[in-house]
């Protein structure tokens, strides 16, 4: 039966499409979706971390929070060194567009020559420091000029309000705020602190809009309290400066120690420098002579020889020793006194500073004993000051000693010490026989020393030292009205290339009040050249001034009547 034909049927309209085309299309579309899926998986899962990081780096910032360097204060809390924010002003020379008037103003604000500024702006770099450590106020005015290409960066500037007075103790930092000298150098770790950081989100204008996580707080540097007392430091500084100028000396140093606590109350050097302005610095200015320089102590060594002889029972304070004829020959060398005194008691030997008498006492001691004694009071070992460059001094090992060496050492030649060392060593006399440890950091408690001599020995030597600083001794100028003073002068030829030159070091080490010592003061003047060179003439007056003013500043009650001081016209000359 024929199929019924529909009216609308038209053979022309019916197309016969191959079935595979639709399947191909379906396949292609499915393939596309699959590719999209894979891509999505790739982005969302596989490389998600990477993309998240990339994104974060476009809006997140790691900000470093600088730590502020700790302050250095003195024992009373007065500021010795402190950091304040400052700006580094830098330029990208290619970007700088400035009118001549702007450049003129900029140069004036930065305190530069116009030519220097032009030279810096002509440099072929894209980061040129114009000036570092500019005060915030000046930096604000520079910013107000609005010169394109001139930028600022935050940094810190160290200020030293006490300036040259305590320069050698405090030291200084460089532009990067890293310690270079003194306590700034030795306590760098403690003072510097640790910078902190935090992650923040910034908007398109660079404003911080959110902080991510808690971040790391910066740890500011710890403050440092020194044992220095700025009042006493100032007194010592002035007295030393005047002494060096008056005697036209090359240099000088002075140390003030607290007998009870072992603290260094003042440590002064001349020449000195201003740590705030270090454009021209010489090595001589930087040198901390009291700690880093060694010298032959001369007669200031004699009390130790006498104390060792007393301690070992070789002599008593009243033992008479014949020093006539003022000369003594050991081997091929001859030791001499300034005057021939004849028979002297041990007390008088120290009072008149007789070399012959001292040598006669010292030679009764075995070398090893003497070496042990010198080592016990700290010679030959660097003092533990927590300070860079503290020297040990030089004491030869006793096995190599020749008799003449032992003899000269007993009056302070052929042995080298630093001023701080000898000042500390005098604590055995000031403190009833024990050697106190030194510190330059504030310490409120009295310290316990290491016993070296018996208290009787120390008291006997203390009495002799008081005689030496009296009218009959070598240093009548060391007397202070109202206080009993004990101390010893020292005068030595300077060693130059192994030979003694005709230049001198005058020194004085002593303590006061003698009845109950409170401070030890040591003064050393290098190459006095105004005619006088004896320790009793050059260093003793400076000692008296520093000690007197220090005792009054510390409000130590006077222990002597206020009699008029006797300054003999021609005091006893010291033996060299």
């Amino acid at each position: 039966m024929p199929r019924p034909v529909k009216l609308t049927r038209n053979a022309l309209l019916s197309t016969k499409l191959p079935a595979w085309r639709s399947r191909l299309l379906l396949g292609l579309m499915a393939g596309c979706f699959l590719a999209l899926g894979v891509r999505a998986f790739w982005l969302q899962v596989w490389s998600n971390d990477f993309l998240q990081r990339q994104g974060a780096s476009r809006y997140e910032r790691n900000l470093e929070i600088p730590a502020i360097r700790g302050k250095i204060v003195d024992r009373t809390g007065a500021m010795l060194a402190s950091s304040l924010p400052a700006k580094a002003i830098w330029a990208d020379p290619d970007d700088v567009i400035a009118t001549p008037e702007q450049k003129f103003k900029l140069a004036r604000l930065l305190g530069m020559e116009r030519r220097e500024l032009d030279r810096k702006l002509a440099e072929d770099k894209n980061y040129v420091y114009l000036k570092r450590q500019v005060e915030s106020e000046v930096a604000g005015r520079v910013a107000a000029l609005k010169i394109p290409g001139i930028h600022q960066r935050n940094e810190y500037k160290r200020h030293y309000p006490e300036g040259e007075t305590v320069a050698h103790v405090v030291g200084f930092t460089n532009v990067e705020d890293v310690g270079q000298e003194g306590f700034e150098l030795s306590q760098q770790q403690r003072l510097a602190g640790k910078p902190g950081s935090r992650r923040v989100i910034k908007d398109n204008l660079g404003r911080i809009i959110e902080q991510i996580g808690s971040g790391r707080e910066p740890q500011d540097g710890a403050d440092l309290a020194l044992s220095i007392d700025t009042r006493i430091q100032f007194l010592a500084h002035n007295a030393l400066r005047d002494a060096v100028r008056e005697h036209r000396a090359k240099a000088g140093a002075a140390v003030v120690l607290d007998v009870r606590t072992g603290e260094v109350l003042a440590l002064s050097n001349w020449p000195t420098y201003d740590p705030n302005n270090r454009k021209v610095l010489t090595g001589a200015q930087l040198r901390n002579r009291a700690i880093t320089d060694i010298y032959e102590p001369g007669s200031t060594m004699k009390p130790f020889s006498v104390a060792m002889a007393l301690e070992n029972g070789k002599v008593k304070p009243s033992t008479i020793i014949d020093t006539a004829p003022g000369k003594l020959t050991i081997g091929t060398a001859t030791i001499g006194d300034a005057h021939a005194y004849g028979a002297l008691t041990v007390e008088q030997i120290l009072q008149k500073s007789s070399n012959v008498g001292t040598v006669k006492m010292a030679l009764q001691l075995p070398p090893q004993r003497m070496w042990e004694g010198l080592t016990a009071v700290g010679f030959g070992q660097p003092p533990q000051l927590g300070f860079p460059g503290a020297v040990a001094g030089r004491v030869k090992p006793h096995k190599t000693w020749k008799p003449i060496e032992q003899a000269t050492m007993s009056y302070g030649h052929g042995i080298s010490v630093s001023l701080v060392q000898i000042a500390r060593a005098y604590s055995v006399f000031a403190r009833d026989g024990d050697l106190m440890p030194l510190t330059m950091l504030r310490q409120d408690e009295p310290v316990v020393g290491v016993p070296v001599f018996k208290p009787e020995t120390a008291q006997a030597v203390r009495k002799m030292l008081e005689m030496a600083a009296g009218p009959q001794g070598t240093a009548p100028l060391a007397q202070i009205p109202g206080y009993r003073v004990a101390g010893k002068t020292g005068t030595t030829h300077k060693l130059e290339n192994g030979a003694y030159a005709n230049r001198y070091i005058a020194s004085f080490v002593g303590f006061a009040p003698a009845s109950r010592p409170r401070v030890i003061v040591a003064v050393m003047v290098d190459e006095p050249s105004a005619g006088q060179h004896y320790g009793g003439q050059v260093a003793a007056p400076a000692f008296a001034r520093i000690t007197g003013e220090t005792l009054r500043a510390l409000r130590v009650p006077p222990d002597a009547p206020f009699a008029t001081l006797i300054h003999p016209v021609d005091p006893v000359r010291e033996s060299l």
């Binding site: 304040l84 404003r207 959110e210 100032f234 202070i480 109202g482 007197g548 006077p558 206020f562």
Partner: protein, 98 residues
């Protein structure tokens, strides 16, 4: 069904608006915090500056110079000082050392 959709839509919109406002408030709060911290830092620096200035003005050399030069003062010397004993002798008369 339509009612539920409307309800859900309303909840969604409210939540979105709340999210936006709280975000905004968080940012404002954060900015205030930042500003307060900056002020604190500024005060700290100022305090340090003042401390430094105090030390500078109280320098012994300055005081010394001012006392000597401008005020024509002289340092105390023991010669011109009366020392009074802390423990007076039995007689009741004070001992003066001069």
């Amino acid at each position: 069904m339509a009612k539920l959709n409307v309800l859900l839509m309303t909840i969604l919109l409210t939540c979105s608006l709340l999210l936006v406002t709280s975000q905004h408030r968080a940012r404002k709060g954060f900015i205030d915090l930042e500003r307060a911290q900056a002020t604190a830092r500024r005060h700290e620096v100022e305090w340090k500056q003042l401390q430094l200035e105090q030390t500078r003005l109280a320098k012994h050399s300055l005081i010394d110079a001012a006392a000597r030069r401008d005020l024509k003062m002289q340092p105390v010397t023991p010669e011109r000082t009366l020392y009074i004993n802390a423990t007076p002798p039995a007689a009741g008369s004070k001992t003066l050392a001069r």
